[in-house]
Amino acid sequence: MQGLKARALELLNDGTVSRVLGWKIGENTYDPEPAFFETAEAMEQFVYNNFCAANLSKYMIEASKLEGKTLVCLKPCDSYSFNQLLAEHRIDREKAYIIGVGCKGKLSIEKVKQSGLKGILSVTDTDPLKVETLYGDAEVAYKDAMLDRCHVCKGKEHVVYDELYGESEDTSDADRFEQVRAIEAMSPEEKFAFFQAELSKCIRCNACRNVCPACSCRKCVFDSNKFDSAQKANVDSFEEKMFHIIRAFHVAGRCTDCGECSRVCPQGIPLHLFNRKFIKDINALYGEYQAGADVDAKGPLTSFTTEDAEPGVVSQGGIV
């Protein structure tokens, strides 16, 4: 981390970049916040540890409008989001200086808490995590504290960068579509019950939308008063489902599966399932596609072939 900080500082001082987009140290190890640093003095609070989970690529939309270059720290999976935003002309490659930072799987304090620990006073980002709590000390295995998305890691390669810093590791140890398949195998009643239970928790806070790098519309359809969509109401009916279906639909073919939506959901709704279902269907029907892997690739929902399957394929046993 010290080396990364020194390198960022060097680039800031020699004028290569006007600001650094990274993480600022929080009150504890586990709550670093995304931050812009513009001075050497501010850089003292720069931190990069295994709890730095936030995907910073979306902040580049705003940073692209600023004077001068922004140094941005991207983890391998974040670089896909960056590329996708680049493909959509939402950010300016010339305004970014990318340091591809190493990642060996990111940790989540929620996961630590789910292991049953309460009153966490301090925690290390080592393997195992050493946790000091009000009610005694404990250890948690690194893998157990990792974000869900890291168990289906996209690999250790950055798809876009100016320079690399640190080692990465492919932490995948699960099948990306396993949960999707499990749900597909359910009866309609079971499926409905599952999503009803999950989505009725939704509080319509929009955290999933606002954090999503693919949700980069200047004005969201769900904020439009002109259309009967700005409901905001939590009515435990189809409204929440519609919000999430449409949101997933709007990012289908563009979603890199970065998993930020599920990470930020205050109610722990597995929102990535919607995105992965679309990804799985796209792969099955229109060929393997990874959004953000290639800036020049045409998105599956903005292209077609004359031989495409008919929508009726769904009622003939579904897309498997």
Binding site: M186, F274, L301
Partner: protein, 145 residues
Amino acid sequence: MSVNEEFRPKIVAFCCNWCSYAGADLAGSSRLAYPADVKIIRVPCSCRVNPMFILRAFEKGADGVILCGCHPGDCHYSTGNYYTRRRMTMLFSMLDFIGVENGRTRVEWVSAAEGVKFSTTMNDFVAKIRSLGKNVRLGDLRCKD
């Protein structure tokens, strides 16, 4: 609703202006019958139909939604219906994924000359929806009549 009363589903049919709407017209002028429960909404092209239109229709009480457009290759705007095909495949698959009865949504390609197909398609779809019964899962609780 009493048990004996026949269930009359509310059907919304989005029809493209150039083919399917003309097909519906032909069905009408040829006196081919299709249930009056089908409410047609004319759209410039099947690809104009935003998935939200379909979900809103359900939410506000539709029991089935059918989308009709030109046959692939015959789109007035040359490629619109190809996009429709991919989009609707994705949307229907998602509806199936969340456990909403499969079969309440359908896409059919109906040309301006296919008055007969329009009529049989609608009869068939209405029969299907009738067998599925009232749409409960996609409706909004506030919209009960």
